[in-house]
């Protein structure tokens, strides 16, 4: 009834559970960046940023390539898109449920009025 994607979704959501990693992903949505560029808006050391990047890489949300001595980081869009679709499938499910709850409450109210 609702889309199942299993463990990749857990990886995606776990990786996104951290606010610094979410800002990194938001920056990468605008295009490729170097590690230094990704670290600059944060009051966090370069090693700490590297640790966040490793989490994102293991979850398959980013991809790193080396050009000469510069590491370039890019977003892998698919898992985030899947997470979005998963939430959308639940949105449809719950919209239907909450409508049905509304109809039920209307029925209860109508019954109460008839009794009066």
């Amino acid at each position: 009834m609702v889309k199942r994607l299993g463990s990749q979704l857990d990886l995606t959501f776990a990786a996104m559970a951290d606010p610094i990693r979410r800002t990194i992903l938001a920056r990468l949505q605008q295009g490729v960046a170097t590690v230094t560029e990704l670290a600059s808006p944060h009051a966090v050391s370069l090693p700490a940023i590297s640790k966040h990047l490793r989490v994102l890489e293991r979850a398959g949300l980013i991809d790193r390539t080396k050009e000469g001595r510069i590491h370039l980081v890019r977003l892998v869009a698919r898992p985030i898109k899947d997470a979005h679709e998963w939430l959308e499938s639940y949105r449809q499910f719950w919209e239907g449920q909450l409508d049905a709850l509304g109809n039920y409450i209307d029925e209860l109210n109508a019954k109460k009025r008839r009794k009066k």
Binding site: R4, L87, G102
Partner: protein, 147 residues
């Protein structure tokens, strides 16, 4: 989807009833059965609800088009009468580990109506861990005061 906020689903509705009635719609199995089917093609086959902290629930939804019953089950983590329910949510698929998620239902009176906010999140382990951490740091703060 913007990636700047933790991805979660939040829906809000206002119903023309009291928080007591609205809360009962979720916690009383007989009432839940009356409304909890996602479309006219579905029927709530059964509903077992023990709405107490640590209590469990199981709901079976029969899909007339396929003849299959989908089962969803979970555990109540928080039950605050007429205002708040937190429960895990997992569709049961034979032979597959359940896909566990977390649902929070918050109810508050708005004039003579009731507002319901439903939040559905993917990662109950994270939410639980965070709340445990908060519990712990609270304990540590108190300890620090004593010391």
């Amino acid at each position: 989807m913007t990636v700047e906020t933790m991805p979660r689903l939040v829906l809000e509705r206002v119903y023309p009833t009291t928080p007591e009635v609205l809360f009962g719609c979720w916690t009383d199995a007989e009432q839940l059965k009356r409304w909890f089917a996602p479309s006219p093609a579905h029927v709530t086959a059964f509903a077992e609800v023990d709405a107490t902290q640590g209590g469990t629930y199981r709901i079976g939804i029969l899909d007339h088009s396929t003849g299959k019953t989908h089962i969803v089950a979970g555990v109540f983590h928080e039950v605050r009468p007429f205002s708040r329910l937190v429960f895990t949510w997992a569709w049961q698929t034979p032979g597959e580990p359940p896909d566990e998620t977390l649902v929070t239902v918050e109810i508050e009176p708005v004039g003579n109506q009731s507002k319901l906010v439903l939040t559905h999140e993917r990662f109950p382990q994270v939410a639980m861990r965070d709340s445990h951490e908060k519990g712990w740091s609270g304990c540590l703060d108190k300890l620090a005061e004593v010391l």
